[in-house]
Amino acid sequence: MNSQPRRGSIALNPPDCTSCMLCVKECPDKCIHIESHPVVQETGGARPVTVQHLDRFAIDFGLCMYCGICIDVCPFDALAWIGQSTASAATGSSSLVHEMDQLAAGWNSSDD
């Protein structure tokens, strides 16, 4: 994993993502899509806490400018550059929308 900009692609480590929506908010192209729902967790303490559970995380690489703002803004380092370019698509620009499993596969296969 590498925090330096390079002309590869972007990967996600889902366990590190808190669904905080900062990347969605800051992405100039609005090409990140996140869906989440609140989960109440019993902490054993005085009161339960509510956290967001990540249901969907997608980046539309048909729109993405590879500016890296999402990577820079993520407080939890859940996004990172990977060296491998995003693969071309032959079946419509909508197939450039990469869902969470695909983004996570990039993270896991990266040898950076």
Partner: protein, 145 residues
């Protein structure tokens, strides 16, 4: 249409002749030209043989690189029609694929596939030379299929 840059390449021994159409004011046109240069330099590693220039008559792939404004849209359609049946289309960059950074603009076509059928979408803003090489391979698979 301000410039048309004819480019011919041979991918894995199979001649694929690219005809780049660069919409005026669009950065991807310049980047496409730069990327093809690197494809030429990487010939040995990629087995992509960039050896000649195609004319619009002989080209079989139309490369749309750059922002397609509504004003330019009719020209893109006309160029595609001029290439005749069997012509393939490569969408190069975010603008051609979806409108890119200008997807919400009243003056930009949000995807050249609204005008002509697209065979391969190369992502990036602009796409890297490596992305172009990947796109050429994808296109070749499609052409052979």
């Amino acid at each position: 249409m301000q410039d048309t840059t004819p480019v011919a390449v041979v991918v894995d021994g199979q001649p694929v002749q690219l005809w780049a159409v660069e919409a005026g004011l669009a950065c991807c046109g310049v980047e496409y030209a730069a990327a093809t240069t690197l494809v030429g330099q990487l010939q040995a590693q990629t087995s992509i043989d960039l050896d000649a220039f195609a004319t619009s008559d002989s080209a079989n792939v139309l490369v749309v690189s750059g922002t397609v404004t509504t004003a330019l849209a009719p020209y893109v359609v006309a160029l595609y029609q001029r290439m005749g049946p069997g012509a393939r289309v490569m969408s190069f960059g975010a603008c051609a694929a979806t409108g890119g950074p200008y997807w919400d603009s009243y003056a930009v076509v949000d995807g050249v596939d609204r005008l002509v059928p697209v065979d391969v979408y190369v992502p990036g803003c602009p796409p890297s030379p490596e992305a172009l090489i990947d796109g050429l391979r994808t296109l070749l698979l499609d052409v052979r299929a």
